[in-house]
Symmetry: C2
Subunit: 557 residues, 2 copies
C-alpha cells in the first residue's frame, strides 16, 4: 500500500499514513489537483497557512518505464490565484516511487521565521532547522545538502527568490549529477515553499527497493514497444542532437518567436541564440547534448553548457529560456543569455516569467532591448531583494501594474511563454483556457487556423497532457492514451481502457477549473490580453481572432 | 434636452450630442454604471484605450434641492478590475447641471504622452495642451487653472499620482473656494484619467442658466420639507459641529476603529486625533467647522484646518482620513496626520488606500507604527515616483504582493476603510458584496449581529445608496425613497413612485455586478480577507463569522 506524508510546519511534525482510498488511483498532476480542489479553501491567501504544497510523483514512479520520472508539484498559485501544477524532471520522483510514496503534503506555516529542510527517507521524515542555508542560491544549497546527506539524494529546493516569496519563484529539482537545473518553474510555487519556511526537501531512497510491476512480462513488453515508438518520432532525434533550443530558429522563421516584448515574431539574431550556435559552442568548449534529466530517459533533450573557460555553466538550457531571455529582450549574445538562465536557476526563478517581466520593464524605461549589461544589473537587483528587484521578481503582471503599463503579456497573471498566439492559434486557445494560466506545456499546437479544429485539438491536447502529467511520463514522449493504459495495467495491476485514462485527464481538468471558479477566477479570466487581437505581428501580420465564446467550449466535457 | 459630451483623446476631438433615449432617466451613478456596463469591453485593460472615464452629475444637478450637487465619476477600475463609481462633492456637478449636461465621457488615449486640459463651457468644449501642468500637485494645478480661466470655474484634476498611473490615485474636485479638497478617491480613477493624458477638466457655466423645476411650487415645498427633515437628524448637528472626524472616538470606544494595520479596534490615542482635539485646534488656530463642500449643503460637515502658524492647511479633514492615516498607522499627532492628509490631497491619492498600504508596509519592515517622520519619507517616495513610492501608490494589495505578505486588508483589491467588520457585521457584509469593492459609503451599518437582519439591511442600504448616488444627493442627508421620488417628479416632471426609485437602485447594482462578472470577477471575489475570520479583535474579541453563502443573497433582487 502506498503512503502519504503530511508535514505540518506549524508544529514541525510529520505523519505518515496509508494513502486513503480516494487517492489510490491518482498520481502526479491528478493527485495534486485533487488535493488542491478538496483540501485548500479556494479563497485563502496563497502565502497563508491554509495553502498546501503538494509533491506527487506520477503513477509509474520508480518503475523502469521510459521517461516515467516526472514529478508534479502544486498549490494554490500566488501568481494566478488559481490552481497550479508545475511539472518537473530530475531524480526526485523515482526516489519517491522507490520509497512507496504517493505524495508529500506540506501544510501550515512556522510561527517563527525559521528555515527548514524536510528529509524524507525509508524510515520516516526529519524536519531539520537549517538557518545556515538562508539566502543561498540553489547551487550552493544543493552542494551543501549533498555534503550533509550524500550524493545519492534527490533535492527539491528554493533559492533567494522563493525565500523572498517572489511570485516568479520556482522550485529546483536536481538532475542525476545533483545539479539544481530542472525547475518546477511556473506559478510561483517557490514562494509557497518559502512562505512555509521550507528551504529544501531531501529525498533519500537508500535501502528502499524499487517497486515491481504486477505483470513484469507484460510491462517489459509494453515498455519496449513504447521506447521503439519514442525513438521513431522525428522530434526525438532533433532533441537529442540540439536540445529543445534546436527549435528556436524554426519558430523565428514561422514568426512565432516572442521578440522584444512580443512586438515581433521573428528575431534577426535567432541563429546566434538557437540550436546551431549552441552546438558550435559545445563543440568548441566541451559542453554536450543528449544529457538526461532523469534516469530512464530515452529522449535526452537536456544539454550541458560550458562557459568561455570550458567549465560547466548550466544544464538544461531550453528553448523557452533562450527565447524569453534572449529574443524577447532583444539579446543575441549567447553567453549573456546562458548567464541569465544560470542566474535564474540559481536564484530559483522562472525564466519565462522573468523574460516577460523585463520585457515589460522596457516599456517602463527601465531597460533598452539588447542591453545585456543592464539586464544583468536588474538580475542583481532581484538577488539583492531591492524594491525594484522584488517588483520584477513578482513577474510581468505586477511589473506592469507598478509602472502603469497596459500592454501586459499575461493570462491569469502568468506570463505568456515563447509561442506567440498570433501565429499559433491553437496555442492561443490553450493559453486562454488552460486552468494553469498561459503555460508552455500541454497547449502548444504549431499549425492550423480553423477555429473548430483548433478548439477540438486544444481540448484533446489538454486532456492528454493532464493524463500523462498524472502517469508521470515526460511530454517529450507524446504517449497515446492506449500506451498509458497498457503501462498502468501491467505496472499497477489495473484493468483500464484508453477511455479510463482520458477520464482521468478530464476529471483532473474539471477539478482544476472548478477550483479556479471557487477561487474567484470567473469565466472571463479565460482570455488573452487584448493586444494580441489588436497588434498585427510581423513578419506575417497575424492577429488572434478566435471569438471568445469559443473558449467556453474547450474544456466542456 | 440634456446633452452628452464625448471627448476622444486619440484624435483630440469632442462631440456634443443630445442624450440618447436610454440615458434620459439616468444620472450620476446610474448613468456611470450604465455606460461602463454597455460601452466598456469588460476584459479590456483599465489603462488601455478602450476604457472610458465617465463624469456624470446627479439627476437633480443644478437645482436648488439641498445637498444635490454630488458628482459621479466612473470607469473600469485599475484597482479592482471591476466597475467603479466614485462619488464626490465640490461645485462641479452644479455647473454641469447648469450647462445642461448629462455626462462627459472621455475615451481613447493620446498617441503621444501629452498632457491636456478639457474645458467644458456653454458653447462647446476645448481640448488644450497643458505641458506646463506636468507633475504639479492638485493645489498648484487648480491655482494656475483658476488664474487662466477665472475663479468661478469648477475643476476636476489629478496630481502626480494619477499622472504616474498609480492605482491609489484619486481625482480632486474643487470646493466653493476653489480648493481641490474633495476627492473621487476610490478605485484608482486618477490613474485612468492619467492614462488618458487628461490633467484637468475645467467646467465653466458662465452664461448658462440654472435649470428650472417643472413644478416650481411643488419642488420648493418638497425641498423645504426635506431640509427640515435633514436638520432634525442627530448626525447633522454632530457633523456641523465636529465634521465626520467627530465620530472617531466613538468608533474607538466600540472597537471598530482600524488600529495599527487592523490589529486592534481601539486606539489609545483616539482623543488626540478625534473631533474634540480637532475642535480645540481650530479654536486655537482659527480654523473652522460648518464649511460646505458644495453650494446648497445644509449639513455642513466639512472643516477648514489651519497649521501651527494659523494658515490654511487642509479642508475636509474627514473621519476616514484621520482613522486610516492616524490610528491605522499608530499615529496620534494631529499635525502629522493632517499633514499626511494634505499631502494625499495634493498628490491626488486616496487617503484610505494609502493608510492601508503603509499599514501593510509595516509588516514588511518598512515602517514602525507611530513613526511620523518615516511615514512622511514614504510619502516623499510616492511624490518622487521612486520604485518604492510607486509600489505604495498602487495600494495595499500590490504592496503586500511585492513584499510577500499574506495578511491583506482588501476586498477585490481595494483597501478596507475605517470600519472594522469584526465589530460592524453588517458593514462587513457590504464590504464583501458591494460591486465597488470594500467601500466606505453605502455599506456602513453600525449595529446588529443577526445574519438575516444584516443581509436584509445591507441590501436595503446598498440599494438606497445606489439611488441617491444617482439622484445626486449627499449620503449625509440620508434621503428616503419617497423624498427622492417627490424631488424627481417635481424637478423633472416625472411620475415616479418610491418603488421606481428603488428600481433605479436595483438596476444600477445589477449592472455593476454583471459588469464585474463579465470582467472575470467571479462569485468568490465577494469575500472578506480570511484574517477577519481568524483574528479576534481587541478589545471585544469579535471575529467575522457570517457564512459566505449568505453573501450571495445580498444583491439578489
Amino acid at each position: 500500500m502506498l503512503r502519504v506524508i503530511r508535514v505540518n510546519m506549524a508544529d514541525l511534525k510529520a505523519t505518515v499514513e496509508e494513502a486513503p482510498a480516494e487517492l489510490t488511483r491518482l498520481g502526479g498532476r491528478a493527485l495534486v489537483s485533487h488535493v488542491i480542489y478538496s483540501e485548500i479553501p479556494p479563497t485563502s491567501h496563497p502565502l497563508g497557512k491554509k495553502n498546501k504544497l503538494i509533491v506527487a510523483p506520477g503513477l509509474l514512479a520508480g518503475s523502469t518505464a521510459p521517461n516515467s520520472g516526472r514529478l508534479s508539484i502544486g498549490a494554490k498559485s500566488p501568481l494566478t490565484g488559481g490552481t497550479k501544477e508545475a511539472n518537473v524532471g530530475g531524480t526526485a520522483a523515482q526516489q519517491l516511487g522507490r520509497l512507496g510514496l504517493k505524495a508529500l503534503i506540506v501544510e501550515g506555516k512556522p510561527a517563527n521565521s525559521g528555515i527548514y529542510v524536510i528529509k524524507v527517507k525509508k524510515n520516516g521524515v526529519d524536519i531539520i532547522a537549517a538557518p545556515e542555508l538562508t539566502g543561498l542560491g540553489t547551487y550552493d544549497t544543493t552542494a551543501r545538502l549533498r555534503g550533509a546527506h550524500g550524493d545519492e539524494v534527490s533535492i527539491l529546493c528554493i533559492g533567494p527568490a522563493g525565500e523572498m516569496r517572489m511570485t516568479a519563484a520556482s522550485i529546483a529539482s536536481t538532475d542525476p549529477q545533483g545539479r539544481p537545473s530542472r525547475h518546477a518553474a511556473r506559478g510561483g510555487l517557490g514562494a509557497v515553499m518559502g512562505a512555509k519556511g521550507v528551504k529544501a526537501i531531501v529525498i533519500d531512497a537508500a535501502g528502499a527497493k524499487a517497486p515491481e510491476a504486477r505483470d513484469k512480462q507484460a510491462f517489459q513488453a509494453v515498455s519496449k514497444a513504447f521506447i521503439q515508438e519514442i525513438m521513431e518520432q522525428k522530434a526525438t532525434t532533433l532533441f537529442s542532437q540540439f536540445g529543445t533550443v534546436g527549435g528556436l530558429s524554426y519558430l523565428s522563421k514561422i514568426g512565432a518567436l516572442p521578440t522584444r516584448n512580443f512586438s515581433a515574431g521573428s528575431f534577426e539574431g535567432n541563429s546566434k541564440i538557437g540550436g546551431k550556435s549552441v552546438a558550435e559552442l559545445n563543440a568548441a568548449r566541451g559542453g554536450s547534448f543528449g544529457h538526461v534529466c532523469m534516469p530512464g530517459c530515452v529522449v535526452r533533450c537536456s544539454n550541458i553548457m560550458h562557459d568561455k573557460n570550458g567549465k560547466f555553466l548550466t544544464a538544461g538550457f531550453e528553448y523557452e529560456s533562450s527565447a524569453m531571455l534572449g529574443a524577447n529582450l532583444g539579446l543575441d549574445d549567447l553567453d549573456t543569455v546562458m548567464g541569465l538562465e544560470k542566474m535564474c536557476d540559481d536564484l530559483g526563478l522562472d525564466t519565462m516569467e522573468l523574460g516577460a517581466a523585463i520585457g515589460v520593464a522596457q516599456e517602463a524605461g527601465l531597460y533598452a532591448f539588447g542591453d545585456g549589461a543592464r539586464v544583468l544589473d536588474l538580475m542583481l537587483e532581484i538577488a539583492q531583494g531591492t524594491v525594484l528587484g522584488r517588483v520584477l521578481g513578482q513577474g510581468a503582471e505586477v511589473t506592469a501594474r507598478v509602472f502603469g503599463i497596459s500592454r501586459v503579456p499575461t493570462v491569469k497573471g502568468q506570463a505568456v511563454p515563447a509561442h506567440d498566439p498570433r501565429k499559433e492559434i491553437g496555442t492561443g486557445i490553450g493559453y486562454a483556457t488552460n486552468p494553469q494560466g498561459a503555460d508552455h506545456t500541454g497547449v502548444i499546437i504549431f499549425e492550423g487556423e480553423d477555429t473548430a479544429e483548433m478548439v477540438a485539438k486544444s481540448r484533446q491536447k489538454q486532456l492528454t497532457t493532464a493524463a500523462y502529467d498524472s502517469v508521470g511520463l515526460c511530454q517529450m514522449t507524446d504517449p497515446s492514451l492506449e500506451v498509458m493504459a497498457k503501462l498502468l495495467n501491467s505496472f499497477c495491476g489495473w484493468n483500464w481502457t484508453a477511455e479510463d485514462v482520458a477520464e482521468m485527464g478530464r476529471a483532473t481538468l474539471t477539478k482544476e477549473l472548478t477550483f479556479n471558479r471557487n477561487a474567484g477566477l470567473g469565466l472571463a479570466t479565460d482570455r488573452l490580453p487584448e493586444f494580441f487581437e489588436e497588434e498585427a505581428l510581423s513578419p506575417h501580420g497575424g492577429t488572434f481572432k478566435v471569438p471568445v465564446d469559443k473558449f467556453e467550449e474547450v474544456l466542456k466535457f
